[in-house]
Structures are given as C-alpha cells and as structure tokens.
C-alpha cells in the first residue's frame, strides 16, 4: 500500500499532471470539471500538509526515481517554497470553484475538457517551478506553465485574444530562452544542475565574465516573465483579452512564481553578496521598481477597460515585491514575500469580481459598468474591499505588506523610498476610486441597469478570497509570520 505521507511532495505535482490527460480522455463538460475541482482542492490540502510538516520538522527533500542528488532531480519544500505552494494551490482551487458559470459563458462548450486539462497543466507548471530543487527542472516547469497559459489566454472571446497570446508567447519564449542560456552557462561552470550543489561549487568571487553573463541573462529572463516595468509589454493585452477565469488565475499566481524563482536565484545560487555588493542589483531593483510603480500606476489611471486598468496595476504591484528584495534586509525581503501572498489574494479577488461583471453585463468597459453598484451590490462591494486592499488601507492585507516595506525602508536608511511608496499609493487611490465612483455614483448604463447579481456559485468563492484579504490584514501569523520565517531562512542559508 502506498505510504502517502512520504510521497506528499511528488503527489502535489503528479496529481494535476495525471488528471490533465485523464480529463482529455474522458471528454465531456461536467465530469471533467468535477474531477479538476477535486484534484485542485486535493493539491491545496497536500500543500497545506507539507507546509505544516515543514514548520514542525524542517525542509522536506524528495528524490525522484530514488536517484540521489545531485545526480537526480530533487524536490525541496522549505519555508519559502512551502508558503508559495500553499497560496498558489489555494488560488488555483478557489478560482476553479468560482469559475463554472463564467467558463460556461466565455469558453465554447466543446473546448471545456481541454480547458480544464490545460488549467491543471498550468497549475502543475507553476507548482513545479516552486517545488523543484533542480535548475533545469525550473526551466521545464516554466515552459509547461507558460505554454499552457498561452493556450489559456488564446481562448478569450475577443478576436484579439490569440494575438495577445502570441505577443506573450514571443516575449515569454525570449524570457525562457534567456533563462536557459543562463542555466547552460552555470552548468558549464559547475557541471551540475542541482541548485544546492551549484551554490556549493560556484566561485562567485572569481567567476569572471561567464558568471556575470549567466547572472545577467537569468535576471533579464525572469524580469520578462514577471513583467517588470520596461519589459512588461506583453502583460496588459494578455490579461485584458484572456477569459475572466484565466485572468484571475494567472494574475494571482504566474508573475509571483517568477518573483519566487528570482528570490531563489539570488539567495540560493548567486548569493546576495554577489548580487548586491559585487553587482549593483539592489540600486537597479529600487530604481526599476519605483519607476515601474509610478508609470504603471499612472497608466492605470487612464484606462477605460477595468481589466486593463488592473493589469497595469499588477505591473506596479510587482514593483513593490522587487522593492522588498532590493532593500536587502530580512524585513524588506519578508515584506516582498508577504506582498506576493497578499497581492495574489487581492488581485485574484479583484479579477474574480470583474469576472462577475463580465458574466452579467457582458463587458468590463468603465462606460458599461456605470451604476452597476445598484444592480450588483455584492459584487461591487467585493470590488471595493479588494480595491481598498490594493491601496493599502489599514485592516486589509495590502496594508500589512506596505507597512513592512515602509518600516524596512526606513531601517535601511532610505526614507526617500518610503516617501515615494506613500505617494505611489495615492495613485492607487485615484485608479481604484475611478472604478468605485463609476460603480456607485454614475447614472446606470443600459447594460448595468438590466444586470442581475452574480450567481451564488461565484459570489461565495469571491467572498472567501475577499474575506481572506481582510482576515490577513488583521491576523498575520500565517502570512507575515510565515514570510518572516522564510526570509530569515533565506538569509541564514545565504550566510552559511
């Protein structure tokens, strides 16, 4: 009989990976949905179990095929990856729970079983990038998640969706190729692909040009995947034209996983000393993230499509996570990590609310959403609470992460960064208010006046996520507490 406890790390990846082809073989709409849903929640339960196990007894290592590392592929669940796995699988499961009605409306019924299969594959890829301790495996899973997300985005109803997916495909492939070039160079220098083994063998002090080039390629590659400001051009179109469910899932998870991979890269392989002292990555990160926050937030203000508005806001929010990394302190890193979590909840919730509007009103243009607050009060309320979280109002999750970033930027002796963060929050106030004002205080548009409230099947999961943003704004043991542990783990690991 199978001993489940020892196999948990691999089951987290294999379960969705096996279910995806089963979905294709079964076909049909209802059955595959139920199957995908059960598996998504199972994966969440497993990741939760792993996280608890990590908290009690330290990192879990799993050797695939019983090949000892560094020869074989090793999966590692530690404080950081456990935390990220937990919230990625949670959002994957909750978005799928929420999505039935929206998927029924936005995606052709004949393609449903393929949609669920691709969704599960995307989840596999994202979780795999997170759990693996093998550098080449990171690339493989990055490709699995990217390819499936291109397919998911191209399912959008608008005819521009395939174009947006192609745009993402081209840039995403460049990003992945850069990452692969970097991995190749590291392999050439060390002769191994296991991350811990590379870290042990890599001579960061006398690495010379090869090391520098590898570092540059991998950094830029990941910057493209996480849509950091000057390399963000694929993101607004991809988020705008993808089906609502896909936008909610990808916006909440995909870019964060790249941030996670970036953190791993710096702290697990290149060492912070090389990245921040030998190379000026910290100043570069601070500059890029601050410029990104301002320009993306300013661009968000001028959008007439709410999905696009939130997409620009996502680009800005990635800036806060990088800001945390760029501050080079335990507090800053913890702030960045907890912002990954909080922003996943907030943006996931906001895009889920937008999905409700898209279902009932049929459009997410600001003009069509006018006065929807009267006919769809619950959805509008959820959007408003989520928007407050995005701004960082106290008692919401957004406040916690911004507070941690603020205090650590003062501690790092960079009050000007803190000041600019506060000013940038005002920009968030402007674009969130713009939507809220349209929802509540404008004369109803024809479509909004006829709209009904979203179905319960969508509202309940939506409110679970929105409630989570409030809960984690007050009770921070499982968000900021875990992020703090993860950051401390990374810093002590880096010093050894």
């Amino acid at each position: 009989m199978i001993d489940f406890v020892s196999q948990l790390p691999i089951l987290m990846i294999v379960l969705p990976l096996v279910t995806a082809p089963i979905c294709v073989l079964l076909g049909g709409r209802q059955l595959t949905y139920i199957l995908a849903l059960i598996v998504a929640w199972c994966v969440f339960a497993i990741s939760l179990a792993c996280l608890i196990q990590v908290n009690q007894s330290g990192p879990i290592h799993y050797e695939i095929g019983n090949w000892k590392p560094p020869y074989g592929i090793e999966y590692v669940v530690d404080a950081l990856s456990g935390f990220v796995l937990m919230f990625v699988s949670f959002l994957g499961a909750i978005v799928l729970t929420y999505g039935k009605a929206s998927i029924d409306k936005e995606i052709p019924h004949s393609k449903h079983y393929l949609f669920y299969a691709t969704y599960l594959l995307c989840m596999t890829g994202l979780m795999g990038m997170c759990i693996t301790g093998d550098l080449f495996n990171v690339f493989v899973f990055l490709e699995i998640s990217s390819l499936s997300s291109y397919a998911l985005i191209s399912l959008g109803k608008s005819r521009r969706a395939p174009l947006a997916a192609l745009q993402y495909l081209i840039l995403g492939t460049i990003g992945a190729t850069f990452l692969l070039i970097g991995i190749g160079l590291l392999y050439q220098m060390t002769g191994t692909l296991n991350m811990a083994d590379i870290a042990g063998r890599l001579d960061v002090e006398n690495g010379g040009r090869t090391l520098l080039v590898a570092f540059a390629f991998m950094t830029i590659g990941l910057f493209i995947k996480m849509a950091v400001f000057p390399l963000h051009t694929w993101l607004p179109n991809a988020y705008t034209y993808a089906p609502s469910v896909v936008t909610a899932f990808i916006a909440a998870t995909a870019t964060k996983i790249s941030v996670y991979a970036f953190i791993r890269l710096i702290y697990g392989i290149f060492t912070p000393d090389f990245a921040f002292n030998t190379q000026p990555l910290d100043s570069a990160l601070l500059a890029m993230s601050l410029i990104g926050i301002f320009i993306a937030s300013a661009a968000a203000i001028y959008q007439s499509d709410v999905k696009r508005l939130l997409a620009y806001s996502s680009i800005g929010q990635i800036g806060y996570m990088l800001l945390g990394i760029g501050l080079v302190s335990v507090g800053g890193l913890a702030g960045g990590i907890v912002h990954m979590f909080n922003h996943a909840l907030i943006k996931g919730g906001l895009f889920m609310a937008i999905g409700c509007f898209a279902l009932r009103i049929g459009s997410v243009k600001l003009d069509d959403l006018r006065g929807a607050g009267k006919t769809m009060p619950w959805t509008s309320l959820a959007f408003t609470i989520g928007g407050l979280g995005l701004i960082g109002v106290p008692l919401t999750a957004g406040f916690i992460s911004k507070w941690m970033l603020l205090t650590s930027s003062f501690e790092a002796g960079r009050p000007q960064v803190a000041a600019m963060m506060l000013v940038s929050s005002l920009l968030a106030v402007v674009y969130v208010w713009k939507v809220v004002e349209t929802l509540y205080f404008a004369d109803p548009s024809d479509a909004a006046a006829k709209a009904k409230e979203a179905p319960m099947s969508m509202l309940v999961p939506l409110y679970v996520v929105i409630a989570a943003t409030v809960v984690f704004g007050v009770w921070t043991d499982w968000s900021a507490g875990l992020a703090q542990q993860a950051a401390e783990f990374l810093f002590t690991g880096a010093k050894q």
């Binding site: 096996v18 995806a20 082809p21 095929g65 019983n66």
Partner: protein, 156 residues
Amino acid sequence: MISFPIIRVITKIIIPYILLFALYVQFHGDFGPGGGFQAGVIFASAFILYGLVFGLPAIKRVAPVKVVEKLIALGLLIYAGTGVATMLIPKSGDGGTQLQCKFLDYEALNHSIEWLGPLSGQHLGIFLVELGVGITVTAVMTMVFYAFAGREPVKG
C-alpha cells in the same frame, strides 16, 4: 499530388518502411541511439507524407482528429502512470521487508517479472516511459500538421 503516379506509388512503397524504422528507433532506443521522441517524429512523418500526397480527408480517415487528440493524452498518461505505478508497487528490501518506492523508481517494477533478469524493472520502466513519449510525439506531430494543413485560406 494524387495525380502523379510515381509519387503515389513511391509513397505507398516507402510508408511501411518509415513506420518500421520508427518502431526500430523506438524499441531499440534503450540500447542504441534513438528513443521515444525521435521515433515519434519518424512515425508521424509517415502520416504527414500520406497526408501530403493523398490529401487531408484521406489522412483524416486513417487518423481521425478525435483519436489523435486522445492519443496525445494517452501517451502522457502512460508516462505519468508508470510513475504512479512505481509508487503503488512496493519493492522488496532486505529480509523480505516491503519498501515504499518513489515516483519513477523503476526498481519497483522488478519483482513482478523476475525471469527477465536483475535489471528487468529498469528495462520495463524505460520501455513504458519511452512508449508514452513516442505515442504523444506521434500524435502531436500529426496534430500540428492538421492544424496547418486544415487552415482556411485567408480571404482578401
């Protein structure tokens, strides 16, 4: 191209050899150069050649889109299923103890077919995995051909 007799006849003659060569590359892949990916591409090239010469409707009678789509999934399922199977079958450790195997630990496949020799598990494992790869690659290549060949000409 169906109107060219030479092309038609030559195609019909060489297709069996292409398929046979693909199977050789597939099943000899454990011992020599080759393996599932290469074999899959060669196997699919036979289908594609048939499609090029006899047209899309003819090849779709041989390999219907629905079947090809399911084969893509089947191949992946064989691969991953092998891994799951290794987790379900315990391997015998020292003194007759039953050990839990890890994902894709081929030693789990050992004891069920002892007469194949000491490394039978390794052999069976890689055989199944490569079979999965071969099936998926064949199906994907054929599907890619369908996707390009079946495109409506852009008007205007």
